[in-house]
């Protein structure tokens, strides 16, 4: 091989992936910014440069701010609980427990099913009057409540569905990490007289830190990415209380066909994900201390 062949080979092998990534990831990111400074083309009129007009509209748009706030609440509701449950499930399924195979399947099954399909099932579950939840609450003598139709409970209902869908997925990563841990640690700790909870708190949990960070990043991304169930269950309602950022982008872009404004909204989402990337970069440096 001559001295250029390694460069030529490397680039030729990379070319298909690089071209597709450029077309569907890097170019769109830049084009989103560019298009966010233009108006929508109308009949007989080209898209015109409007500067920051779309962003000015956004600042005055109460639905945008509500979606933004909803998304933060959604993230706050789903992330800690799904991670905690995932860890609990993994610890259970990793130990000696009766019916381990069944437990593993039960926890993991929601992960492999389409969100759109399970959202239909949950919609039925939450249905007023004859849904399963209503039947249970009426058995307990509680008054009837429209779970998805009420401003107070709709977002919480979606949080529950998301946790249900995600926890089993995150459990897998914890399970992998737990199985990679040396049993000697537990034996040594037991001999030293450390209690089980103490051992978990001081040994297992710190050792799981890299996994927790990995799962955390995934959970944060998912909280900005998962909107399938909103399309099925609430369509952002009632009164936009379940509208999340990506759902609002979808609404603005593909129901009202205001693609210019949707581009400006997408910039907010990209900025949030960019911040997350930087945060992860900083954390990844720290993570090496645990290894």
């Amino acid at each position: 091989m001559n001295k250029y062949s390694v460069h030529i080979h490397g680039w030729l092998l990379l070319l298909p992936a690089a071209a597709l990534l450029a077309l569907f990831t890097h170019f769109p990111a830049v084009a989103t910014l560019y298009h966010s400074f233009f108006s929508n083309p109308r009949k007989g009129r080209e898209a015109a440069w409007v500067g920051l007009e779309n962003y000015r509209v956004m600042i005055d748009d109460p639905v945008f701010w509500q979606s933004f706030a909803n998304n933060l609440w959604f993230a706050l509701g789903t992330i800690p609980l799904s991670i905690a449950l995932a860890l609990l499930m993994a610890v259970w399924v990793n130990g000696r427990i009766a019916g381990k195979a069944f437990l593993r399947i039960a926890f993991f099954t929601p992960t492999v099913l389409p969100m759109i399909a399970v959202a239909n099932i949950w919609l039925f579950f939450y249905t007023p009057q004859y849904g399963l939840l209503e039947q249970l609450t009426s058995l307990a003598g509680l008054p009837s409540h429209n779970w998805l139709g009420s401003r107070d409970t709709a977002l919480a209902c979606l949080v529950v569905v998301t946790i249900w869908k995600e926890a089993g997925f995150f459990m897998i990563f914890y399970l992998a990490a737990l199985q990679g841990m040396s049993p000697n640690l537990a034996e040594a700790a037991a001999i030293e007289g450390a209690g089980r909870w103490y051992f978990f708190r001081r040994v297992t949990f710190p050792l799981l830190m890299p996994t927790t960070l990995f799962v955390l990043v995934n959970a944060v991304i998912n909280s900005f990415r998962l909107v399938d169930h909103i399309v099925v269950m609430t369509r952002g309602g009632p009164d936009n209380v379940t509208s999340l950022l990506l759902y609002y982008i979808y609404d603005v872009g593909f129901k009202f066909w205001d693609l210019a404004y949707a581009s400006a909204l997408t910039m907010v989402l990209l900025a949030l994900l960019g911040l997350l990337a930087i945060g992860q970069f900083v954390f990844l440096d720290k993570r090496t201390h645990y290894q």
């Binding site: 390694v6 080979h9 680039w11 092998l13 990379l14 298909p16 992936a17 690089a18 077309l23 569907f24 990831t25 769109p28 990111a29 084009a31 298009h35 499930m89 259970w92 130990g95 000696r96 437990l103 593993r104 926890f107 099954t109 992960t111 492999v112 099913l113 389409p114 759109i116 239909n120 099932i121 949950w122 039925f124 579950f125 249905t127 399963l132 249900w164 897998i172 399970l175 992998a176 737990l178 049993p183 640690l185 537990a186 700790a189 297992t204 990995f214 991304i221 900005f224 990415r225 399309v231 099925v232 990506l246 982008i249 979808y250 872009g253 997408t266 994900l273 960019g274 997350l276 990337a277």
Partner: protein
């Protein structure tokens, strides 16, 4: 949780109980769906042991919408995406793992950008691109943004890097070209990674919804997820028996695959998760 902490008496029994309660809660929605789908509509919200089993809901659902076509579309989509991903990611991963070409580290960073900014959030621009390419409402339009998968490249690169260089060099001495080495040495040794990635990819694209609903507009290109949504939101009013039957039908291949190969599934997701 560990062998050393096995004998815990009451605490252990309590934990077992907790695990079982949680597991039953976790599959309750699914059991509920099965009940509704396999019983006549009058039993969809009433639980009685005498309720007769029936398949009529599935027959009605199948006849009420072009599900056969949706199945064909989804299978075509999933196959196309997987084959494209395997070829493209294998080539790129090989380049990153074994060729110290000019600009490699920068290019790798640019690839990793996609882990954070996924096609899922690029719906507006990708719609414009598909429109410009003139391929809106087609199956390739659904799959193209996902073909060059940063996740796949990353995963395969990690695997390729663990393969001893001596094997590579030995094949080179025999006169094999770069692509022959890839095909004869690297690909066979990375088989478990391929299986893991394939299972993750198939379940992701079988389930994908938001981008397909945006980019498709007709029966000839809609995948199952979109077909199910249109069916359950417009055609059926609130006939839950038929909707749940359709729901189970669309998830059945994945669910069956998962139950039959659950060990491989779990291990694949595990393998794919360890980066």
């Amino acid at each position: 949780m560990n062998a050393a902490y096995r004998h815990d008496g009451y605490a252990h029994a309590l934990e077992t109980l907790g695990a079982w309660v949680l597991a039953l809660l976790w599959i309750a929605p699914l059991i509920y769906a099965f009940w509704t789908a396999f019983h006549p509509p009058e039993f969809s919200t009433r639980f009685a042991l005498s309720a007769p089993l029936t398949l009529v809901n599935f027959v009605n659902a199948w006849n009420a919408a072009p599900f056969a076509r949706y199945f064909v579309n989804t299978i075509a989509l999933v196959t196309m995406v997987l084959v494209g991903q395997l070829v493209i990611c294998t080539l790129a991963a090989y380049a990153f793992a074994r060729f110290a070409f000019f600009g490699r580290d920068l290019m790798f960073m640019l690839v990793l950008v996609q882990l954070m900014i996924m096609p899922d959030v690029m719906i507006v621009e990708n719609y414009r691109t598909m429109n410009a390419l003139g391929i809106l409402d087609s199956i390739p339009a659904i799959g193209l943004p996902y073909m060059a998968s940063a996740f796949g490249i990353f995963l395969l690169r990690q695997t390729f890097k663990t393969i001893p260089k001596e094997l590579d060099e030995a094949a080179r001495v025999e006169g094999a070209s770069a692509l022959q080495v890839l095909w004869k040495v690297y690909v066979p040794l990375a088989r478990p990674t391929y299986l893991a990635y394939a299972l993750v990819s198939v379940s992701y694209h079988w389930n994908n919804f938001l981008w397909p609903i945006i980019v498709t507009n007709s029966v000839s290109s809609r995948p199952l997820t979109v077909g199910l949504q249109i069916f359950s939101s417009t055609d059926q009013g609130i006939d839950w028996s038929i909707i749940t039957a359709a729901t189970l039908m669309t998830s059945a291949p994945l669910l069956l695959g998962f139950l039959l190969f659950q060990r491989q599934f779990v291990q694949s997701f595990m393998r794919a998760g360890i980066r």
